[in-house]
Symmetry: C2
Subunit: 388 residues, 2 copies
Amino acid sequence: MKIAIMGFGTVGSGAYESLKNVSDVELVRILARHGRPGYEELDEMITPNIEDIVNDGTIDLVVETIGGIEPAASYVLACLNAGKHVVTANKNLISARFDELMAAAAANGVQLRFTSAVGGGIPWLHNLLRTRRCDEIISIKGIVNGTCNYILDSMADKGVSFDECLKIAQDLGYAEADPSSDIEGTDTLRKTVISSRLAFDTTITEGDIPCYGIDTIDSCDITWMKEKDLTCKLMMTARNTMKGVTACVEPVLLRSDSLESAVKTNNNLITLTAKNLGTQSFYGQGAGSLPTGESVVHDVMDIRDGDKTYAAFGDTAVKCCKDTELHRYYIRHDRMCEHISPLIDEHEEREGIFYCISKPITTAEMHEIGHHRKERGRKLFFARLPEE
Amino acid sequence: MKIAIMGFGTVGSGAYESLKNVSDVELVRILARHGRPGYEELDEMITPNIEDIVNDGTIDLVVETIGGIEPAASYVLACLNAGKHVVTANKNLISARFDELMAAAAANGVQLRFTSAVGGGIPWLHNLLRTRRCDEIISIKGIVNGTCNYILDSMADKGVSFDECLKIAQDLGYAEADPSSDIEGTDTLRKTVISSRLAFDTTITEGDIPCYGIDTIDSCDITWMKEKDLTCKLMMTARNTMKGVTACVEPVLLRSDSLESAVKTNNNLITLTAKNLGTQSFYGQGAGSLPTGESVVHDVMDIRDGDKTYAAFGDTAVKCCKDTELHRYYIRHDRMCEHISPLIDEHEEREGIFYCISKPITTAEMHEIGHHRKERGRKLFFARLPEE
């Protein structure tokens, strides 16, 4: 099978490294403006022109690792419409254009796979889809953003401030120069859309999911949590209720003996609960050149071998719905304003900071107030408390 | 595809439940002495005669859930030799007769799969073999016996004695009436053989692997561990060294913030480390009718779909070798005899019991003394200490 790679950065070059161990797959073209230092052996394959790939009838499959929505979306659609399978690591693209891209793949009788888009090297989506072959997914949850986990873990472990932890994460290459999509939860949100789509055949989109990140967390929150023997993680959660699918991205407090609490540095842990199987979790490197590249190559090999796991999910359209369940939240704010006080069950003041436990409220209520305060420049942090 | 099930107990009936959700697989025969209460709809399929399955040319695949070595081995060989694929959950059989059974499958051009034999419902062997398609496994480790984990977790969590915990595990159906293969480590040993075979293409057998269980653990050990903030788990470990594959089954002490320490009740956690992928773990129900049955059915569906993952491992024969690495052990014994004292770095005596930290010694040395003392009716417990 002949393949091309579009975009030859961190993930593209990682995929190339894994491809060296694979037979019956031949890399013949790379879409890039120029060669990559250290990969001079590939210079002859490089083209800046997408037409060289789309119009090459010998290319069966295209790997997309450009990232972002455009031009990746146009290129992927052109390849699908030219009858080529596509494997992509691009979570932004899949989250934003799921229906359109899957429809294009189906219309052209080719496969579109994106296992590496959630969990990097962890075979999460692969095993999620496999479970669906003979079982029903009830809920999913997970730590899917390594940058946030690194920051939260370092703050708790080393007692370092948010800004310092972010700086170290950037120096280590775990966080981007602009870290907003990580720390505001948008990256986790996209992974929640993609995971929910595959778990539940739902029409859910980014706008349907309440999302609050960790950008307002402070060392004083960590101190409070440690006193209560709790650990904070940014979590995706989604479940299939009788009324539809409901999902959420928010900071969650976990007891110190939970599996999630043991997830250190930039690792991920993703969990499914199915009707017959019960609860199953997958742990590992959620990013990085070689792990993510290897996950891309598994999709390539699965297509080479005629595997149909990605065809296993149907085209029913389970609606999404509002979460009406009530949860208690930890809320930290710098004043007990009229927005906050009606929600609070108990609070404690230390040095002008209010540490509160909310009454049982909905996710939507909590997120609305969090965003309202944030928009007014008043930093508020909250995190869901464990069930009692 | 027409299939038969041999043995219709816990796993066989669990597989039947999962099969209800699967298309293109038709159950036509069940080998059993009599029907199972609650499954009267299957009574017409039941036969006590293996020939009714072996000689039925319409049956493509046979599921073996009889357990034990004989008659399961003869039946499986007869089915393979009749050109039928076999899926089995039988770890005793696969561990004891690996080479012979795999050779019979290869000679007949059929598949022999046994994903559920290690980790029950956890797709451990499936993902291990997938990783090998484009990466190299360096080491594996895991908690693979739910009974031992339940006992160790309950002793630590509830402060209950070994015997009481074992009794509760038996009442809950987690432990057999004769629990010796669980608590002496033999069940973990078999899973270590099977996992090592698939991870490393090694010739390793049960007799090559030092094995010490948890049957000599006492509440006083748990007290000592808690003081040191350590958690005890019965672990399988295996790794590919330059000289060959070395493996071991023994109690291991883990820091309280490790992923393993967070594994509660009868769950399993199994981990691989690969050259490019790094470390990846799989967590879930390692036993039980529905989870294990579902794992059996995944093997059936994979064969139905022409998946070749189980053909991905080669026929090279990596030798096994003695582990020459040195580790420190916690040792608890009722006297400081001439066998123990030369190995001890530091010790503490409390009420006639000696709590010791060993010098760095080999696994073989430690196990030899443990078994020597046990054979003489002197209860000794040991557990490997974490690296410093």
